[in-house]
Symmetry: C3
Subunit: 496 residues, 3 copies
Amino acid sequence: MRKALLISMTTVFLFTGSSIGADAPISEDTQVCIDCHASLHPNIIAGWKKSLHSKVTPAQGLEKGTLKRRVSLIKPLETLANNVVGCAECHMMNGKKHKDTFEHNGYDIHIVVTPRDCATCHPTEVGQYEKNLMSQAYGNLQNNPVFRSLADSINGIQSFKDMKVSYKAPDDHTNADSCLFCHGTFIDIKGTETRDTVEGEMEFPILSGWPNQGVGRVNPDGSKGSCSACHARHRFSIEMARKPNTCSECHKGPDVPAYGVYSVSKHGNIYSTLGGQWNFDSVPWTVGQDFSAPTCATCHVSLLVSEEEEVLAERTHQMNDRIPWRIFGLIYAHPHPKSSDTTIIKNKAGLPLPTELTGEPVAGYLIDEKEQIKRKKGMQKICLSCHGRSWVDGHFARLENTIKTTNEMTLTGTEILLTAWNKGAAKGLDQKDSIFNETIEKRWVEQWLFYANSTRFASAMAGADYGVFANGRWYMSKNIQEMLDWMKIRIEKANK
Amino acid sequence: MRKALLISMTTVFLFTGSSIGADAPISEDTQVCIDCHASLHPNIIAGWKKSLHSKVTPAQGLEKGTLKRRVSLIKPLETLANNVVGCAECHMMNGKKHKDTFEHNGYDIHIVVTPRDCATCHPTEVGQYEKNLMSQAYGNLQNNPVFRSLADSINGIQSFKDMKVSYKAPDDHTNADSCLFCHGTFIDIKGTETRDTVEGEMEFPILSGWPNQGVGRVNPDGSKGSCSACHARHRFSIEMARKPNTCSECHKGPDVPAYGVYSVSKHGNIYSTLGGQWNFDSVPWTVGQDFSAPTCATCHVSLLVSEEEEVLAERTHQMNDRIPWRIFGLIYAHPHPKSSDTTIIKNKAGLPLPTELTGEPVAGYLIDEKEQIKRKKGMQKICLSCHGRSWVDGHFARLENTIKTTNEMTLTGTEILLTAWNKGAAKGLDQKDSIFNETIEKRWVEQWLFYANSTRFASAMAGADYGVFANGRWYMSKNIQEMLDWMKIRIEKANK
Amino acid sequence: MRKALLISMTTVFLFTGSSIGADAPISEDTQVCIDCHASLHPNIIAGWKKSLHSKVTPAQGLEKGTLKRRVSLIKPLETLANNVVGCAECHMMNGKKHKDTFEHNGYDIHIVVTPRDCATCHPTEVGQYEKNLMSQAYGNLQNNPVFRSLADSINGIQSFKDMKVSYKAPDDHTNADSCLFCHGTFIDIKGTETRDTVEGEMEFPILSGWPNQGVGRVNPDGSKGSCSACHARHRFSIEMARKPNTCSECHKGPDVPAYGVYSVSKHGNIYSTLGGQWNFDSVPWTVGQDFSAPTCATCHVSLLVSEEEEVLAERTHQMNDRIPWRIFGLIYAHPHPKSSDTTIIKNKAGLPLPTELTGEPVAGYLIDEKEQIKRKKGMQKICLSCHGRSWVDGHFARLENTIKTTNEMTLTGTEILLTAWNKGAAKGLDQKDSIFNETIEKRWVEQWLFYANSTRFASAMAGADYGVFANGRWYMSKNIQEMLDWMKIRIEKANK
């Protein structure tokens, strides 16, 4: 009944100019969506109209040569091949498998479009992304007791009573607004609600953990991740994904200051000052012709070719293919984990950490030296587009030295902390207490999570400030003294 | 005599190309200004030449339709109607009422152009701005004993003697260079001085508190504010006012990190990566057509329409029309104040604060729930241009939870501080001492002014970093432990 | 033999389109370089192709009028005059004087192009740069025992043993990755290595301290500096050097937050919002026509003219010609040093510092008041392009007051530190201990290096945040209390 009404409305809208031009083969279902939603949410439709999705059908996309192709399916599902990719093509895809699918004007619609939906046309990218740690970012945090305890110490409300402070467990809204904003939430369906709409009363599902576009979002269809974390809806612009601001949404804070480092690097400077003249849309992406200095995507994601179409780097949504080390220390920098699911890792002490508390890598779960060298060579091939061999070798020698020295400075902090626990200045592992709830423990976290990480990112991407005074070595050095001061005063007190 | 000389110079300049072309009806007075000042201060004239002020007369501006109009006067003063808005039109406006008016080559000129001058053509905007807290930013700081005491503790020089540190009152230059740079100075006339100029010796007024473009500047004509805070002279570009960098001049620091939050939000990313293609000049501003994601102005100031010219948001220089909460906590986040003059507020303890020291809102001076809902709905109408209902509802539910939890974490800090005062670890309200001059007090300030504020801005504008590690919950949590440590050591000492 | 092979390869490449078009008179030597390196390092050649170096010969450059000229040699060396400036023209220049020169396919090539090479065509700029403190940045840090000790306390690994922390001397890689990244490394030749290349086995020199583009790099030919610090290779774009991002590579951290300050200033806002419409390429640079607000280069480097071609500021690579004060306090702000080599300075206490430990300037080594006034007037001439006299005077009065007050706040910190040393709370000068290795000493460093500097940069360039809450007066004020707390607890302990 409603469907009939909508179809008759469509006709009206067609004549008032609100629908898409006749050239683009839009599916009838999508046109029905547009007819109402163009006025309800004008910029959703406007954004989509500017997207490639609204202009090219999967069949047309497949006709392009291997290097130019943006779809990775060999042959598109027949029903989808010859219409552009519109509302219905994504929000009705795999419908029955979505817990958030609901009946809407006679259609089965789901709210949350997932990597599994995108995989209909982009299966290679989705498959690669499953090997990316980010796809597991929800579980790697929430299902790891150590990291979960860290998150709880940040997000839990503290209350003061009888000269003591105690921590409450954080609520779901806070978690979703804090760590899980980037890591991704677990989206669940909490029932339905009735809303008054321009079409009268309608039923909608109530989602928990929504909105969210975190990289490891757990979706109502069981899939993990959110393509719109980087490919913002509803334009899904490759230009946007290739610009560093996209990465900066999550990689700018003191724990992972990649964007800040980039922005003060020579690469970032060239991008900022000359990037306005570059071509961010072309596939493949031609070094020297389309762009003159790397953005994040250049080294970590994009398909790069030379002017002679020699492939300099394959496109990868795994993103760690060219990353030998995980310089984001947890607690120490270490060879990159083999599996994107890091909850499977256990060190000798039984802790779910990729290194011992004293820094030794938990080798079985991490890539070996051979794989490290292979990844390093892959990265260096990109470097060599603009730099000579001795430049590149010198750069990597420094980075590996920085990994070593920052791990040493983390170890010094850890040794002070272990002594503080041992001598009764603080309560930690031995006392079965949280290792994140006291001042010295929080300073220890800053030693590796802020200062050692910042120094390593600065070294890796040549943004020196972040390795010195901007949360770098200056703070690593000062923090050791402050941890020592804190401990010594409390040990003296305990000994009286 | 000088006037005669200048007019003869004008003729010369006209023939050497330095004056404005014949098309633009420039007043004779303005042409006289230009003839000298074009070479004395070339970019003042060059900037103005690029402005709309130099190209459109008020009469022409009024001919535009209601939505397109940038002037709000029904009918312009006759003498001004048919010349473009040049030097004389602003710097000679309402001349006699300006304390800084001086005789200059036969003209009565004032240096400081004020909102009252601008109101000649833009009365609606100036009227709205009077309801904006920013218009009272000078008095709200300087005439509130609590905030003034905070400012003095920041700007006053400390000196060390006999193992003690004492604070001096800050000097005027420091105040003007510090808090009042953004809040606005009080501009006064301190006499006159004679200067050697290209025209020989001339008299000029000596201004104190100058230069300044602060939002609550107290002007020599008694008006408050400075339109050039956002509409930078002498171009007065709407493009500039609509871009977030304008707001960042004052809203980037740790106390109010709105710009930082925006820049790591999805909105900020879309602006940074795709904004180069948008139209920032058009009035009204059409969602989807002119721009694809909000800047600060979009949600808080600009007249927004859909492609069908449905008004989605009215232009407002009150700016708080769509803001239910004041998330900038002083000391706690609270419903927005009713009056832009907040010095009238008194809490139960007699302090000029919008909440009690323990967080309860001082209801009488703050908007009620009905007004809060109205403002929220106004904001959400803009959100719905790009987002569905459940997205928007979910976002606001989280924000309101964040307001609650950050207020709780502020309360915990306050309780520790009150205990420190009570137990003699520090001196505060009961001891009639400054509540901002000791370490624990300064940490308490950081709890609400830096960390709780940052967390709330991050929640309001979805820039997660600033709610976690970048001055967010991590620091709120750590700071509580540090306040506790500081207090406990001093209570122990006091008890010995 | 190899040379012959390469020349025959050249012929092949010429016909496959990889060489440069016939119009540009490229030297035969450069063409040989390009023929191989275009595919080995495609973006080096692509960048150069976009540069002016690849399009204009020195002889053509010299034909331009004085204001438009970018080369400063009166008459170019004959052998170089009539080819564009390519690979060979720079990497074979002054070859025999370079320690890193090596035989490469029959040519004498050096890897590191130095200011002395650039001086072949740009001698005036290189000469000016020698008077710039930056050219001595390596020695001014490494050869000054006080600053070297500071650097060692930052970069040296600390280890914990027997309840004590000790510092090791930092390794060379760390120094190069930290302070010397911006200051410049000392580049030396450590031998040679054989590499497998597409041309078979070849010998290359092994460089230490490489890569580096620091401003005071000590080069294998004995010269100091790196023009590519600002004029990034191989495009050498004046647009890039004129945009503030170039300066931000080194001037963004908490010690010297010039870029951050600029970005929240009105100037920075105008650049960010309207700069996309400016002309950054023209020489000379015309105020009002080419640009509407200053970038770093505008006030400190570029040749500025009015539309009537009146010179408003001379081009200078000395950069301090218009800087009366050194607001980067070491330890206090002071009149600018006379010599770019600051290691010659000794204060009365025999320390290599431009002021006494209590702030008095070491007059003999610093410019006198007359020179200060001259420099100030030079700067103010630029200010007056956009601002009136009372605006400019007011601005500088405030800046000079800020220099005074921040020096006072530094002195207060110093007095606390001296007392801490004197009373045995810490070990310093009298105890012949490092003055940078304990917590209170590190806080003292932050007082002047971070907070006082930030406040002064904020005042100088009107970016208020950085003078208040963003590492400004707020932290200066809080830090004094924290230094006092730290000292008092330890004196009490010592007195027990």
